[in-house]
Symmetry: C2
Subunit: 351 residues, 2 copies
Amino acid sequence: MSKAKIGDVAREAGVSLGTVSNALNHPEKVRPETLEHINAAIDRLGYVPNQGARQLAGGTSRVFGLVLPCLDHAFSLQIANGVQAEARRHGYDLLIASAGNDDILENRYMRYFLGAQMAGVLVLPMADNAWKPPVQTPSIPIVYLGIHGKTPGMYVAADNEAQGRAILEHVHSRGAHRVAVVGNAEFASLSLRVRGICDAARELGVEIELIGRGDWDSASDGFVLGKWFAERYGGMRPDCLIGLTDVLAAGLADGVLAAGKKIPEDVLVAGCDGNPLAWGGSVPLTTIASPGEEIGRRGVQVLVDLMEGKRLDVLHQEMVEPKLLARMSTATTRIARKQAEPVALNLGEYL
Amino acid sequence: MSKAKIGDVAREAGVSLGTVSNALNHPEKVRPETLEHINAAIDRLGYVPNQGARQLAGGTSRVFGLVLPCLDHAFSLQIANGVQAEARRHGYDLLIASAGNDDILENRYMRYFLGAQMAGVLVLPMADNAWKPPVQTPSIPIVYLGIHGKTPGMYVAADNEAQGRAILEHVHSRGAHRVAVVGNAEFASLSLRVRGICDAARELGVEIELIGRGDWDSASDGFVLGKWFAERYGGMRPDCLIGLTDVLAAGLADGVLAAGKKIPEDVLVAGCDGNPLAWGGSVPLTTIASPGEEIGRRGVQVLVDLMEGKRLDVLHQEMVEPKLLARMSTATTRIARKQAEPVALNLGEYL
DNA sequence: CTGAAAGCGCTAACAT
DNA sequence: ATGTTAGCGCTTTCAG
């Protein structure tokens, strides 16, 4: 039972309550000797200051809160890492909540953080299409990550169009002329990705086939489609398959192999969202790393700027550029044939 | 400025302060009609209850805290997911802190959670070798994850020896007879893994070569060693390389390929810690998934049992069994030659 | 259901 | 440099 309160510590150390408080919050205002006594007493009693009381009494909290949709996706994690690193750099702590893909919970956690008087809150909202500002005129700054807002607020997100453009330009440079794009482009970010792909295709004279309806988003869906594409005859067969997500792309790759075709010799395959969880498949997958860390870092910078009194537009937007991770699934065939030049781990942003 | 307090809500709703408090904490004690008025007022004012005050005044907090060493490793994430899921199942919320591989910070967050009067705290301590109980007789239950304790406390961890044994038995079943094990076995968990490997090797008559000194833990270290092993002559060359971590193993694989040998035809390669971040390499890597989710879930169960009044031994230990993820890097050569039977994604515990 | 009031443990003024 | 004291916003009593 560590019921020890600050008063107990004071008594144990033979000083007054206020002095202990000072020792905790403004150590420089306490004589070193006294301070030692106090610390000894704290250890002896196993005293842990009550954060609630602390906050209530008006202490300023140097803790940021981060709300993530889930912990399953690399993008969330990169963001978490970026936020974490940048927060520490500025002397802030970070508490993370995962909403388990539930928007009720997402809101709950946001309110919790706001109610806990955090110094600031960052959110990676889940369904960026069906999205509305959850808290009106909050007393605490909120930064939205991964989406571009229309309503007043602060937003830091990837340039999804650039992401699509980059992957298409890459496969084009590897010789692709007929590209099939697979995935459910229902989400705003994915549809921007598709737009980037299509724009680039038009400019480069690449032919595009878009398979975007339905619930195709699992690896097994990809498998079916990959096989289907690979089994087409000559001119009808795309020379490149792009999955809007890496999981889908991994499935596509397996489907192509199951059809007896070779990657990348017969068909190039690429993913689009840099998800390491999809990298355990039969072929090392080329993909685009959403620059999550960068987004996280920039989000914190916005918050810190704000704390330091800098004033921002009511609608503050920041864009971050994506990075290509070129791997075996789109290697030039010379490289692929003799695995001699291992594309290395190419973890890009990940390690 | 959402300075709205509970009193403001009361006035706005035309009821008394106490009633609002009841509406928030014991809705069943308030007439539905009144409750609606109050909720309307809350929305209108953008009221968010102050968690600090709430906790201070004696509310009981249904929130668990989880302290992780970092967010870079799949093990941490699996644990987080397991904890998250199980906590929700029991109606608890979860706050996660990443210590950024810094034991000072780790301690800070633990104390923070304790001070924030969480319902319970779970910790995945970082350096399990140099580890001492950080808080004496805490008023709040703490469960240690991923380690087996010697001092009184609650512990849930993987069976590291079984992990080592499993990987060795697997490669043996794939025909390995001379196995080289690479990695810094300084950490307790890794050395247990090594022990499991060695025990199994002895039983099965497999020859073991252990390269365990130094700071070998990066992919490039693995590369050097992999090349070195692969370039040995005939009988001196191991027919299987095991990396104590997947990152190391991925490096080994690249090294082997760079030496002009084939995987798995000439040399089998396997990792040991199920880290998806290492799965982007040239060969899909066989590895062992530490059953992180299971560990996380069980940790929460311990906490919940405790909250429900169940009494546990002062030293409560639980062991969790690991799972094998067999992939291309140890496939039988028949499978490997014609990639026809894609080892599928085999994400095991991951998706 | 209301209204009033007693703290919860702490911080930050203010005296000393 | 140290001691004293007034709240912070909320939850619970307890009597209406």
